[in-house]
Point group: C2
Chain length 206, copies 2
Amino acid sequence: MRKFIVATRNKGKLKEIKEILAGMSYEVITMEEAGFDKEIEETGQTFEENALLKAQKVYEALGEIVMADDSGLEVDYLNGAPGIYSSRFAGENASDAERIDKLLKMLEGVEIKDRKARFVCSIAVVFSDDLSFVVRGTCEGYIAFKPEGDNGFGYDPVFYIPEYGKTMAQLDSEEKNRISHRGRALNLMLEELKRMEEKCENSGHQ
Amino acid sequence: MRKFIVATRNKGKLKEIKEILAGMSYEVITMEEAGFDKEIEETGQTFEENALLKAQKVYEALGEIVMADDSGLEVDYLNGAPGIYSSRFAGENASDAERIDKLLKMLEGVEIKDRKARFVCSIAVVFSDDLSFVVRGTCEGYIAFKPEGDNGFGYDPVFYIPEYGKTMAQLDSEEKNRISHRGRALNLMLEELKRMEEKCENSGHQ
């Protein structure tokens, strides 16, 4: 069974990815389980670049299929900020609450119609020496005026989704997996992987 | 007919790409013809990253399918240098001859068996908001002791290919297209594009 390395230290993410890849004949393991424990600096300018550079670094070391992701929040009123800096928006060691606080302050006095935002998740897979792909899942919404809900993490409590009349942090995990940027990106990844494997079977190409 | 934007200013490249895409129903044009004339800085750490970031910048501005490439020479004895810096190896405005000269000096006294090298070409295609791919073509060889041949450009005159007993610059353009890093990457790109388009037809996804 071929190994499928997930470039994450997050056990929750690993579980989710194992579930989505259950139909594929991969042994899904983290990069640490595969013996890679270096820090990778995210020097890219876009989510796609960051995801790809992480996957490439791990692939270079291990030579197995590798996936890596990068995600964040884009707020239109802030010209796309915090974007790729979402997790460092209020400094390297700030809490989710501090990041949310900073965001709400920057949007003080801004009407709901101008608080449009989206969550973005890019997933890169390095499949072989000569083939990589990157998918992007998004979830559109608005920045709420105050945090609501206890599920999820990051900016979820202030990310309001009009179709549900709830914030991301008020959705249960099944709803969230279906409509979230991350759930969508994972589904696109799965589609692509299936096509890659078909190609391999058809052409005998490894 | 959908537009297919080539992020290059090089007319030779455009012609080659038009030929390889002749069977696809695309209108193949350069980014300048499509109205994009900004310089894009190559800030990535790998060929793949640079190709992807260029394609993304143009896609962001134009919203059509975009391809971009990045290529270079990796010399094992120099730990992969000049790599992504191949075109700037002897300074920003140096000539091909100056770059070759610098390379040969750095390999002075190094035996042929230790002069292993490869040309690498990465091509990124941003196909839609949610899907991009990157392919890599390589061509393995050795750095010759002196330049030979007048075809091609860049490091071609010192890139010796044992199977042909010739440098890349001694191959005719048909041979070169068949075995070069660039020819191989273009063929992989074509395969991927065909699969993408099949997917679109099958799923009705744009």
